[in-house]
């Protein structure tokens, strides 16, 4: 067993884990963070995307022990004070989901993208989410939602819009 000390969605945890435990399994099975999904289990689909130390990662391709000392943000930690993150709101408004399975990972990657590029054009959005697959093929509305969120998150756009950097714990 190895010890992992990690902050997840603002809460500190210290747990003994088997070194082979994948971060996604630690989040779901030990911490009950089932909002993060296991999709393909082969690093392709991006359903398990979370932020580790301010950067998006596929949590099926990170060992829990590699996150030791780090800060993890999952889809469950994105809302603040009961208010959805602007990207979550935009996915709702633009019907950017069909079955919903890819949604948590898609949103976490979109938040990462907007942290690096606050005003992406359509091509940049598509490239930014290239590691996330929607098997309903509902990409059109996903791209619209990400671009809409970008507009709402611009400084001064709305009184209470958060920047992705502040949500992601300092960005990169």
């Amino acid at each position: 067993m190895a010890q992992v000390r990690v902050t997840v969605d603002g809460v500190n945890y210290a747990d003994d884990v088997e070194p082979r435990t994948l971060l996604v399994h630690y989040l779901r099975e030990r911490l009950g963070k089932t909002g993060t999904l296991v999709g393909c289990d082969t690093s392709n689909c991006g359903a398990c995307t979370v932020h580790l130390n301010g950067q998006s990662v596929k949590s099926c391709s990170v060992l829990a022990v590699q996150a030791d000392g780090g800060e993890v943000l999952t889809i469950e930690g994105l809302a603040r004070d009961g208010k959805l993150h602007p990207v979550q709101e935009a996915f709702n408004e633009h019907h950017a989901l069909q079955c919903g399975y890819c949604t948590p990972g898609m949103i976490m990657q979109a938040v990462d993208l907007l942290g690096d590029n606050p005003d992406p054009d359509e091509r940049e959005v598509r490239e930014g989410i290239e590691g996330n697959l929607c098997r309903c093929t509902g990409y059109q509305n996903i791209v619209r939602a990400v671009q809409s969120a970008a507009q709402k998150m611009k400084p001064g756009a709305t009184a209470d819009a958060q920047t992705p950097a502040s949500v992601a714990g300092g960005g990169n």
Binding site: S56, L63, Q66, E127, G131
Partner: protein, 283 residues
């Protein structure tokens, strides 16, 4: 799938990592960013008894100018390479190839050293490292040694890194002012290269003065397209001259046939993509 059981250590220095590797014996395995190793462990294609994590050694990360070289720590992530001004200015081809690797999430975790040490012939960083005459700094029990890229890639998933040794740094000569381009052919956004070409040229007054060309996935290792390089020198940087030179791209290759492409199709791709890559580099 869940990997088979293994022990795990996270040394704080290269010396400690080398010691752990020696004590771990044949079944010890280094993990860098883990973006190649973890899928392999999950599929249980490998089952090391000990995994040694280089993530706790800060000096293996970072990019610096070292005289006439750009030195990149083996644990430097793709993401950091893509945002580094020294790389953009002096080794642009490396950034161009890095940009095509997998997706954003993988580029956050994946490392240059990890990719080169893994030596997957479909990996995108071997061809630019070979074409640009990079040097690999390898640490072992008795100190460090430097291996040129031309001697580093030995075979399929096999490099000159010996037992008990760790790749610590990759050093690139400066190609300031050269034009470069990485032309990759794959079927879907994040797929591996079926074939790809790394090209850098120095053009003087419309004539190609120097050329470097490397091929991805045209054999068991990255391959230097020496015939193309020779044919380009002294030629005008025109589409016709470049396409003629690119016809030599398959010299010395041993293209694999697999589910993605048959060998003869890969050979066709190598010629076409070499023309495109060199033309873009010369433009």
């Amino acid at each position: 799938m869940i990997p088979a059981k293994f022990d795990y250590v996270k040394p704080a220095s290269v010396a400690d990592a080398v010691r752990a590797l020696r004590e771990g014996g044949d079944d010890a395995k280094i993990i860098a960013g883990g973006q190649s190793l973890l899928p392999v462990l999950r599929l249980r294609l490998a089952a090391p008894s000990l995994v040694i994590d280089l993530g706790g050694i800060p000096e293996l990360r970072g990019i610096r100018e070292d005289g006439d070289r750009i030195a990149i720590g083996a644990m430097t992530s793709y993401y950091d390479i893509l945002r580094d001004d020294l790389v953009t200015q002096h080794v642009a081809l490396l950034a161009q190839a890095t940009e095509t690797v997998a997706d954003n999430q993988v580029r956050h975790r994946g490392t240059l050293g990890g990719s080169l040490a893994h030596a997957d012939p479909a990996g995108d960083l071997g061809a630019p490292a070979l074409a640009l005459d990079a040097e690999m700094v390898i640490a072992g029990e008795t100190g460090t040694r430097t291996v040129p890229a031309a001697e580093f890639f030995v075979d399929y998933f096999t490099t000159a890194i010996g037992e008990g040794e760790i790749l610590t740094e990759i050093r690139f000569p400066k190609y300031t002012g050269w034009g470069s381009h990485y032309e990759k052919f794959n079927r879907t956004a994040q797929a591996w290269s079926m074939c790809a070409v790394a090209a850098a040229v120095r053009v003087e007054g419309g004539t190609i003065a120097e050329a470097r060309v490397g091929l991805t996935n045209m054999g068991t290792t990255p391959i230097r397209a020496a015939g193309v390089e020779q044919a380009l020198i002294g030629q005008p940087a025109s589409a016709e001259a470049i396409r003629t030179a690119a016809d030599r791209a398959t010299e010395g290759t041993a293209a694999p046939s697999d589910a993605d492409a048959a060998a003869d199709y890969r050979e066709h791709l190598a010629r076409v993509l070499t023309g495109r890559a060199v033309l873009a580099a010369a433009g």
